[in-house]
């Protein structure tokens, strides 16, 4: 037998090698990196990797996957079609890891540690960067780069205002070092236009890349307790940091004013910092490269970001503080999603790309493209210590201005803090952004805003830590019950049918009938009834697809009404706004056009086509178009251009900020909707044609004016259309999704949650966080509200809707 076995094995080996040779290269799919004219380094890296590993083909997916969209990645992982490698923002890695969506890499590291010198190990990396990509003692990602934040200040702007600065007792030759100095400088440097809008901003606390996180690092606030079980977002230290941001915005006329100012910013060589529209900003090290690329002549410098006064002077609670300055570091890491098809290839790629060799190849490529384009190259901080230090030595720019600026960032690396390693990293981030916005808008006090965020994050934490309390359930059981129920139901129906004792002919007709309606019956059971029951069932569970479901009873519904009440109420209030203002406006617009068209004899078809055309423009394209038309910058947006030269001029006011400010965000949606009022118009037209002429004759004989005729004859006759359209309009507003998603790129819910819509919220809960249970309960609430609205309207209908009596 051994001979046969040997033969068999060798045959197998031959076949294997043949398939490898013939079936070409196995793909390694990489997401999270965009390839473009500026990513020469990454291309070189891939080329070198493919040369060393001819068995692999690296495929970087552009557009759609290139951007960091958690919903897309999550859906792909849950849907079992994930990429092999993902370049992921490090602070979210613990989040993904906690949901079993990334593979732990420890076993791979252990396996290769001895034989492959490229294998990444803890010692080779800056400890904080390595920690940030680990969770619960396991390694989930290999960090690639790091970034720190520093204060950029435009020396020319300081120089231009030198006298004023001196008059205020400030030195124009150095940047502020403390918070109070920052505010003092900003006050002098900020300039306003005649209409009150910002011309030059001294300092915008959240412009660039600072966020509340960095200011809280400076006040030693901790967003999470040591054991990681409690969210401590709302502390006096955090409030102090937030208050600084609010004060900073007050100096430029408030947060809304700043947002409007920012909406006119452009990238590239028109960057507001380089053109002196913003005097100071806190931003990351990548900005140096942008300056080198677009405006190397900018007279700027980088210094450590200003800190609280007490910290600077080592007073009070900072008396024993070692570090005067504090910065913040983030960065990316390569990870392998769970269920990746080509784990081996992915691991080989990660090992190579994150290694010293890989990092240097990438830097070299970037350096060469910069050199070729006549630009300075400014290397980024690598997470790998050797690559970082040698990289800086090899590639640091010769120009002292840039070299010193870059040095500032490298020097800040040791005093940079990272965001807490917790699985609620993403919600914590989202809520801290929301709290900042609400507090800066003065919708809430810092205490309220941070408190609100804290409650939301705590809910996520409790859910995770209390989950043991809830029994795990096997999903096969309810499916089995469902299947059995279905079979029993079918048998009963069948028995009922048998008892009818139909004749032969009738029986064959009935059989044909069932066959004809079978597609619907099947579809109903599989795509409607089944999912409906499943969703009802899920709404009582906590289920993230990748981990087993747990029965939580009414908890999801209770959460909707308690901890998450504010978001839910806000979303339904937004629906009420759209339904209460948008729907009637749409009806009036449609009816007005229809009335005009109805009386015009000639050219009716022509006008009808014109008015109707916007209604058939694809939704996404129409939103994209309106986003440009409603651009807040009156030099670019069509509407604001017209507005600036009429209304704004007459009243001496500013143009509306449309999508960038809270008050105008929903009106923007309504305006977009009104453009499509044409489909309503067609309905009205049909209705108007159906109004009997004798009614008008009778009315005019009675001496009714046209106005009176409209109210007494036309409108009652059209009341069924009014009714139908109101119901549909409200239901449509309740299900608004596309517009909001396109307008916010699916990233936020508009300024101060002004575009938070129920279905959008549901979508995010369902497909971004895969909180199937919670999202399902929200879905049922929406369903019930729709039922109630329709029910109420049908109850009220007989009171005012006029129906023709059937003849």
């Amino acid at each position: 037998m051994p001979i046969g076995k040997l033969l068999f094995r060798s045959l197998l080996a031959v076949i294997m090698s043949l398939t490898i040779a013939l079936a070409a290269r196995t793909p390694v799919v990489v997401w999270g990196v965009t390839l473009g004219p500026e990513s020469q380094g990454f291309q070189d890296l891939i080329r070198e990797f493919e040369r060393l590993h001819p068995e692999y083909e690296v495929r970087v997916l552009g557009m759609g996957a290139g951007q960091m969209n958690p919903q897309k990645l999550m859906t792909a992982i849950v849907g079992k079609v994930p990429p092999d490698v993902i370049s992921q923002d490090r602070f979210t890695i613990s989040d993904w890891a906690s949901r079993n969506t990334f593979l732990p890499l420890d076993s791979l590291i252990e396996r290769d540690r001895a034989k492959d010198p490229l294998t990444p190990t803890r010692e080779q990396y800056y400890p904080r960067f390595w920690e940030e990509a680990s969770y619960n003692g396991k390694v989930y990602g290999i960090p690639t780069g790091g970034d720190t934040r520093a204060l950029f200040w435009n020396k020319d702007v300081f120089k231009a205002k030198a006298n004023e600065l001196r008059a205020a007792g400030l030195d124009p030759n150095r940047p502020p070092r403390t918070w109070s100095e920052t505010l003092a400088y900003s006050k002098v440097l900020t300039e306003f236009n005649k209409d009150g809008s910002v011309k030059i901003a001294g300092f915008l606390p959240n412009y660039g890349n600072s966020w509340l996180y960095m200011y809280t690092f400076m006040t030693n606030a901790e967003f999470m307790s040591k054991d990681g079980r409690t969210c401590t977002m709302n502390t006096p230290e955090a409030r102090e940091a937030l208050q600084f941001m609010i004060d900073g915005y007050d100096l430029v006329g408030g947060y809304e004013q700043a947002m409007k100012f920012q909406s006119s910013f452009r990238g590239g060589e028109n960057d507001p910092f380089m053109t002196g529209k913003v005097a100071m900003k806190i931003d990351g090290d990548w900005v140096i490269d942008q300056v080198a690329r677009y405006a190397p002549s900018t007279n700027f410098a980088c210094d450590p970001p200003p800190v609280p006064d007490d910290r600077f002077h080592h007073r009070g609670r900072y008396a024993n503080e070692k570090d005067t300055y504090i910065s913040w570091a983030g960065g990316f890491a390569y990870a392998i999603p769970a269920g990746a098809r080509n784990v081996q290839g992915a691991w080989e790629f990660i090992k190579f790309a994150a290694s010293f060799k890989g990092r240097i190849i990438e830097m070299q490529g970037q350096a060469s493209i910069s050199r070729r384009r006549g630009r300075m190259f400014c290397p980024r901080i690598a997470a790998q210590i050797e690559a970082a230090t040698k990289g800086y030595r090899m590639f640091a720019p010769k120009d002292p201005k840039f070299a010193i600026a870059l040095k500032t960032f490298f020097d800040l690396a040791p005093v940079s803090k990272i965001r807490p390693v917790t699985f609620v990293g993403q919600p914590l981030w989202d809520e801290h952004v929301r709290a900042t916005e609400l507090a800066c808008l003065k919708k809430m006090t810092p205490d309220e805003a941070l408190g609100k965020g804290q409650v939301v994050v705590q809910r996520y934490l409790d859910e995770e830590f209390n989950k043991e309390k809830y029994p795990e359930i096997d999903l096969r059981l309810p499916s089995l019950i469902g299947a059995v129920g279905f079979v029993i139901g079918s048998v009963l129906l069948w028995a009922g049918y048998k008892r009818k004792r139909l004749g032969r002919l009738a029986q064959s007709e009935a059989r044909a009938g069932y066959l004809f309606i079978f597609p619907w019956v099947f579809g109903f059971v599989v795509f409607t009834l089944g999912p409906m029951l499943a969703s009802l069932f899920f709404s009582f569970t906590q289920y993230s697809v990748l981990s087993p479901a747990r029965w939580v009873g009414m908890k999801n519904y209770a959460d909707l009404l308690s901890t998450d009440r504010q978001n839910i109420l806000k979303s339904f209030a937004n629906v009420l706004y759209l339904g209460g203002i948008g729907v009637p406006l749409g009806l009036i617009t449609g009816l007005t056009i229809a009335l005009l068209l109805n009386s015009a004899v000639k050219g009716m078809r022509f006008y009808r086509t014109l008015f109707y055309m916007p209604a058939i423009v694809p939704g996404v394209a129409s939103v994209v178009l309106w986003m440009w038309i409603l651009n807040a910058d009156s030099n670019r947006g069509l509407v604001n251009y017209a507005w600036a030269h009429t209304v704004a001029e007459w009243f001496g006011t500013q143009v509306p900020g449309w999508l960038t400010v809270e008050t105008w965000a929903k009106p923007s949606l309504i305006v977009m909707g009104l453009w499509g009022a044409g489909s309503g118009m067609i309905l009205w037209l049909a209705g108007l044609k159906g109004v009997p002429a004798q009614l008008y004759e009778a009315a005019s004989i009675d001496g009714a004016s046209p106005w009176r005729q409209f109210w007494a004859v036309t409108l009652p006759q059209l009341s069924s259309i009014v009714f139908f359209n109101t119901v549909m309009g409200f239901i449509g507003a309740l299900q608004q999704f596309e517009g909001v998603y396109v307008m916010t790129n699916g990233q936020s819910s508009g300024p101060a949650d002004s575009l938070l819509m129920p279905v959008y919220y549901l979508f995010n809960n369902g497909f971004k966080y895969f909180k199937m249970g919670y999202a399902s309960s929200l879905a049922w609430v929406i369903f019930i509200i729709i039922l109630i609205i329709t029910g109420i309207q049908f109850l009220l209908a007989p009171k005012w809707v006029h129906y023709e009596v059937e003849k």
Partner: protein, 579 residues
């Protein structure tokens, strides 16, 4: 705030006063030239009323000024005022007005029941008013009065008054003849319609114009650019920085030379298409075909003289190397200049390149957008087939065949129309996941093969209107049910099928949420989703974004123009719900 209210009153008085003046003029003209509709006495009374109103209001308006900010300014202007009130505040004001109107109406009621109805309505409005006032107060509602002035020159005022008086005379004179009255109405209607279609059409015009504009014309420095201009370019074969054409990754690309390698090969960098720009590769000299590049033409100062020149090369230090074209005596001389010191030569024309560049920008997998088109077409065709076939089958079953439980099942079908998609969205995802259909097009069209309630309902109405005799005849001829359905009944409802086809086409062409959930790689991406991603990726370039958006909506617009009738019928059918 008090000053604000005085301003409000003053402004209103001004406007009412002037309107009364014009009414007075109109009435006087009517008396002089026109055909008297009312009794002479009533007419005099109306004139008196107008005169009194005008006098009181204008007197009020002119006596108020000084303290309220209404004082005369140098340029003549009309005062404007706008109270900025939250929605609830407006609702409260409207309620007050409605209550007053209803109460007044109740006095003129014909009978008791009408009177009762009026009072009932008034009571409802009182309720609305109280609630909205309460909410207004609770939400800290405050009223801001915007004071403004509409600047207006004396000439405009005179012209406006002249035009008004002229049109009044025309109106009065033409009112004598019934035909003329109709004409006046038609003219007014058409003016309103033209204005309306202008408002509705401007976004389209803007879309198309923007998609043909150069990037530098996107910002309105001297007003929005409505006539697209293009940068003039000339083909120029630069000896120092030549361009070559070659094949790379199955595409013809234009490359620039970087360096000659020791092995004799050339290291080149892709210049066009944009999707590959910056990619470097090594190429054999022999396969490179030298081609001229498109050099932009600019005007600049050279030796203090204005010259026309072409941009030969963008230098590494940010300057440009220019080659003089005019004047002739210094032609072909070259010099260096900063881009800020040049002025591009623009001519009126369409920048069609926006379209080709938009496609070039797409990732290589998209194959210049053809992949997206293919996916959308698959989606549309499969959805159409599925919807039409299944809906017709099911509708036929429900309308013409008798079987136990029919009415019950039909009620069930109707009730599914109420179910929002949100409820089934998540479990459906799980179903398709277990089938391994994520990142395929199947989840987007397979459900179409199982009939949607609305279409079935619509088609059933149509089937019910076909006389039974037709079917009976077929039955007598021995046709099977399927054959009767296919050959006899289906042809009868073609118009309804066309309507459904149109709606299905629109729905699947525009489907955004489906691909957003299910599709993650460009190979399977349909157009609607690609547009959103394009806006996301290329948001900084409105020209390209608008070009891509235009391309995405073009097929829909074309279908619309050819099948307009069905679109319009469709809205009527869907909206009236078979009324």
């Amino acid at each position: 705030m008090n000053g604000g209210y005085i301003y409000l009153v003053g402004t209103l008085a001004t406007w009412v006063g002037w309107i009364a003046v014009f009414r007075l003029i109109y009435l006087v003209i009517q008396m002089a030239f026109g055909h008297m509709e009312h009794l002479r006495q009533a007419h005099f009374k109306a004139i008196g009323q107008s005169a009194a109103t005008a006098a009181v209001c204008l007197a009020l308006a002119f006596s108020l000024p000084a303290k309220s900010g209404l004082e005369a300014v140098n340029t003549p202007s009309i005062p404007l005022v706008w109270p900025m009130i939250p929605f609830t505040g407006w609702l409260a004001i409207v309620s007050v007005l409605m209550v007053v109107a209803r109460v007044i109406q109740s006095f003129g009621a014909l009978n008791d029941s009408e009177k009762k109805a009026r009072f009932g309505a008034a009571a409802v409005w009182v309720g609305v008013g109280i609630v909205s006032w309460y909410v207004f107060k609770r939400t800290g509602g405050e009223v801001v009065l915007f004071k403004g002035r509409l600047p207006i020159s004396i000439q405009t005022v005179i012209a406006l008054i002249a035009a008004l008086i002229a049109s009044m005379i025309t109106m009065v004179v033409s009112a004598r003849y019934a035909a003329a009255r109709g004409l006046a109405k038609t003219v007014v209607t058409h003016i309103a319609l033209v204005l309306g279609s202008f408002v509705f059409g401007v976004p389209f015009a803007w879309l198309v114009v923007t998609s043909f504009k150069e990037d530098r014309d996107m910002v309105a420095k001297e007003g929005i650019v409505w006539v697209p201009r293009v940068q003039v370019t000339v083909p120029y074969d630069d000896p120092q920085d030549p361009r070559f054409e070659t094949d790379f990754m199955c595409r013809t690309v234009t490359v620039a030379r970087l360096e000659t390698l020791p092995n004799g090969l050339l290291r080149v960098e892709v210049d066009r298409p944009l999707g590959l720009q910056g990619t470097q590769f090594e190429a054999d000299q022999k396969v490179l075909k030298r081609v001229p590049k498109d050099a932009p033409v600019v005007t600049a100062k050279f030796d203090g003289k204005q010259v026309k020149a072409l941009v030969a090369e963008n230098m590494n230090d940010g300057r440009q190397r220019l080659r003089i074209m005019e004047p002739a005596n210094i032609k072909d001389q070259e010099f260096m200049v900063l881009p800020t010191d040049t002025e591009p030569l623009m001519v009126t024309g369409l920048r069609t390149k926006n379209y080709s560049e938009a496609l070039e920008f797409l990732p290589p997998e998209a194959n210049l957008g053809l992949t997206y088109l293919r996916n959308t077409l698959i989606l549309v065709v499969m959805t159409l087939i599925g919807t039409l076939l299944s809906s017709a089958l099911v509708a036929y079953g429900f309308s013409r065949l008798r079987f136990p439980g029919k009415s019950w099942l039909f009620m069930l079908l109707l009730s599914t129309m109420m179910l929002p998609g949100a409820v089934t969205m998540l479990p459906s995802f799980l179903i398709f996941r277990s089938l391994g259909w994520i990142n395929t097009l199947y989840p987007l069209w397979v459900p179409a093969f199982f009939a949607s309630a609305f279409n079935v309902f619509l088609l059933k109405q149509f089937f019910s209107n076909i006389p039974m005799e037709l079917e009976d005849a077929a039955k007598i001829d021995g046709c099977s049910y399927l054959r009767t359905f296919w050959q006899v009944m289906l042809p009868q409802i073609k118009p309804a099928l066309a309507v459904i086809a149109i709606w299905t086409f629109m729905g699947s062409w525009n489907n955004f949420m489906g691909p957003l959930i299910y599709i993650s790689s460009p190979e399977h991406m349909p157009i609607a989703y690609a547009v959103q991603l394009f806006q996301n990726d290329r948001g900084g370039e409105p020209g390209l974004t608008m070009a891509f958006a235009t391309m995405s909506m073009l097929p829909v617009l074309i279908v619309f123009f050819f099948a307009q009738k069905y679109f319009i019928e469709g809205v009527q059918l869907s909206g009236l719900g078979g009324r």
